[in-house]
């Protein structure tokens, strides 16, 4: 390989290394079907508020609702809930039926 070619090849290989996507950890997955049957996130927030939780963020992850919150004891929790039933989903659960 010509030196110049080598230089360009190396520069490109460095720049094109796929950055490892720092994805959210999918700690559970839910068999939750189409979004139409899902309950609103606001309802889950209200439900958890009643339990004394301070909900910080709700995301969708693996078909579940993933909740970041401080629980009634003030502990940081990341918990999963089924979007149809709003029942808690244990972490590690695969295709949880709710």
């Amino acid at each position: 390989m010509k030196p110049r070619t080598l230089l360009v090849a190396l520069a490109l290989s460095g720049a094109l290394l796929p950055p490892a996507a720092a994805r959210a950890t999918g700690l559970a997955t839910c068999d939750s079907g189409s979004r139409e049957g899902w309950q609103a996130q606001e309802k889950l927030t209200a439900l958890l508020k009643e339990k004394g939780w301070q909900v910080r963020r709700i995301k969708e992850d693996g078909g579940c609702y993933e909740v970041y919150a401080l629980n009634d004891k003030g502990e940081r929790v990341e918990a999963y809930f089924h979007p149809r039933t709003l029942a808690p989903v244990p972490t590690g659960a695969k295709d949880h039926k709710g």
Binding site: L7, L10, A11, G14, T25, L70
Partner: protein
Amino acid sequence: MSAEARVWDPLLRIAHWTLVASILATWITAELKLDAAKRAHEWAGYTALAVIALRLAWGRIGPRYARFSQFVRSPAQTLSYARAVIAFAEPRYLGHNPLGGWMVMALLSMVAAAGLSGWLSVTDRFWGVAWVQELHEALANALFLLVGLHTAGVVFTSLRHRENLVRAMLTGRKPAPRPGDID
């Protein structure tokens, strides 16, 4: 064959490979979909931050080639070195070359920023705050891009000057200075 030059001191080398291991560990533990991996991810991040703190101090009080003042060159010098690289006429540096020196600073800053944002994201105050989580992910991705460029730079420079820079970071030794080298 003349004697080799001792360039990288033991503490610097230990710091370098501990940083490599801890960053690798943060990546693996972030990809694993396991509850237990979260604690490991946090500790790998704290280890990386501790290495950065040590390296920053070492850059001021450490031996010659560990010092920032030895290898952080002015923008003009760095640009002129970059031009020499493109023209295939760059001199060999016994310590970090100007581009390598700035890569060191970029890597140290990015590890610090990624580590601190990760730490913030597990405090009560910022727990579950979207922008903190997104910032941490973006900084981590930028760090992995820099690591890729750093590795490419090491391979390129090794080939150009016929020296094994990975081995040098393991043994601390480099081939003795040749005529035209910059010490």
